[in-house]
Amino acid sequence: MSKLYELFSNTAVESFGKALRTALTKNEDYASLIELDYAEKEEDFAIAIKKFLRRLGKEGYKPNERDLDEIMKLAQEYGVKLVCAAVISHALAYPHKGE
């Protein structure tokens, strides 16, 4: 099984992916997509996540604090590129009923 799939199956990654999908479809937040897509270092990733969470605003789905801790740990463990690719991949999947 690839590392990318391990990340894709992670709940924190899924949570951020779901939030990104909402941000893209409802808020047209393309800036966050680009920032996550181009993040290579941990600092870039932390800034991109910070901006993304701020842009999410009060409405719509938001990842919780545990997800945030987890995703930062994953970025250290697996590397930023893999984590970002897994998050963006979730944004490619359509929402299931109730999402």
Binding site: S2, K3, L4, Y5, L33, D37, A85
Partner: protein, 358 residues
């Protein structure tokens, strides 16, 4: 009584020793297979196996004494494509290669079968071969003049033809006419043929005929190769868990169109491992069907849909993490700008499972 070397468990065995010219070798194998089984009666049954150094053909039943006449009929366009580089001249003393082929096969049928029963028969290839015939670039681009000889300095010379013995040439042409998938676009031509790991010829012909009806994306040679391979993988998957055909790769040759004759552009072998892995699960197969729809059949498609098709092809040919990144970035833009459909999570997961991530 001594048993013949070609007699294995009541099956007769024929050999196609490889020369290193991949396309040429594989069309010889298919060509010999169809020469033996024929088109009209499809008997005896032929199985082709890739043994690494050679292709082995196993025949169940007795080989015929004479060739099936229908071998020399068939699609006129296909014959023209194979002999594309042959120029008809009014004062030509030579016969048209199609007539020549018919004569060679008809007059030497038994001899052709006989030499291929020998496991040590290697085709004669060189600049001058006794009674040899030209090895056209449509039979393997590596045979093209521009590929083999360096052209330096100011003196122009055409380069020399590569020749091959007439028996080998004849079965190669038959293999090309009856089994090669030839896809053309405005500026390139792609020749595609699956490599037979263990193939029952009758089943292979069925697959070939099914694929012939299908449209293939011709944005670039890469999309043509990837799209053709997806369609091939779907055809095999449709045949259940124990298909009568097993291919390991698709052999391809590409030629560039010019105002004059087509020029060699490259070739190689595309391994089907990634696509095969996808077909192992129902979700994977569904994902493959979805990828199949990402390749537009119209050449007029431009913009993000064209970019997505190109990125999908690159990713399928080399399912690396970098290619996946590029694909998903373009796909999401395609979804935003052109409303490309989103994925079911499980289907996307099947693709991601097989990405070569570091």
């Amino acid at each position: 009584m001594m048993k013949s070397i070609s007699d294995f468990n009541g099956k007769e065995r024929f050999y196609i020793n490889k020369t290193g010219l991949e396309l040429f070798d594989v069309i010889r194998a298919y060509g010999l297979g169809i020469t033996i089984s024929g088109i009209r009666y499809e008997e005896p049954e032929v199985t082709i196996k890739d043994a690494g150094y050679a292709y082995m053909l196993e025949i169940e039943g007795k080989p015929p004494k004479e060739p099936d006449e229908e071998l020399f009929a068939g699609d006129k366009i296909k014959w023209r494509q194979i002999f594309r580089t042959f120029k008809v001249r009014k004062d030509a003393k030579k016969k048209h290669p199609r007539e020549d082929l018919e004569e060679i096969i008809s007059q030497n049928f038994e001899k052709i079968l006989e030499i291929h029963k020998r496991s040590d028969f290697i085709p004669e290839i060189g600049k001058r071969v006794k009674e040899g015939r030209t090895l056209y670039q449509t039979l393997d681009v590596s045979a093209a003049k521009g590929f083999r000889e360096e052209k330096r300095g100011t003196t122009y010379h055409e380069g020399s033809q590569l020749q091959v013995d007439k028996y080998t040439w004849a079965i190669a042409v038959l293999g090309a006419v009856h089994f090669v998938s030839w896809r053309e676009s405005a500026d390139f031509m792609t020749i595609l043929i699956p490599n037979p790991l263990d193939v029952y010829l009758l089943e292979h012909r069925e697959i070939y005929n099914e694929l012939k009806k299908e449209g293939i994306c011709r944005i670039s040679a890469t999309t043509t190769l990837a799209h053709y391979s997806i369609k091939l993988a779907i055809q095999i998957a449709k045949r259940g868990k124990a298909p009568l055909v097993k291919y390991d790769s698709v052999i391809f040759n590409v030629m560039q169109k010019t105002g004059q004759q087509p020029k060699p552009c490259g070739g190689g072998k595309y391994r089907l491992d990634f696509l095969e892995k996808l077909t192992e699960s129902p979700q994977g197969l569904e994902a493959l069907e979805k990828l199949n729809r990402l390749f537009p059949l119209s050449r007029q498609v431009k913009g993000i849909r064209q970019d997505v098709a190109l990125a999908t092809a690159e990713f399928l040919i080399r399912p690396s993490f970098e290619n996946f990144r590029r694909w998903k970035s373009l796909y999401i833009r395609g979804h935003i700008n052109e409303n490309l459909p989103l994925w079911d999570k499980s289907l996307l997961g099947e693709i991601i499972k097989n990405v070569e991530a570091i």
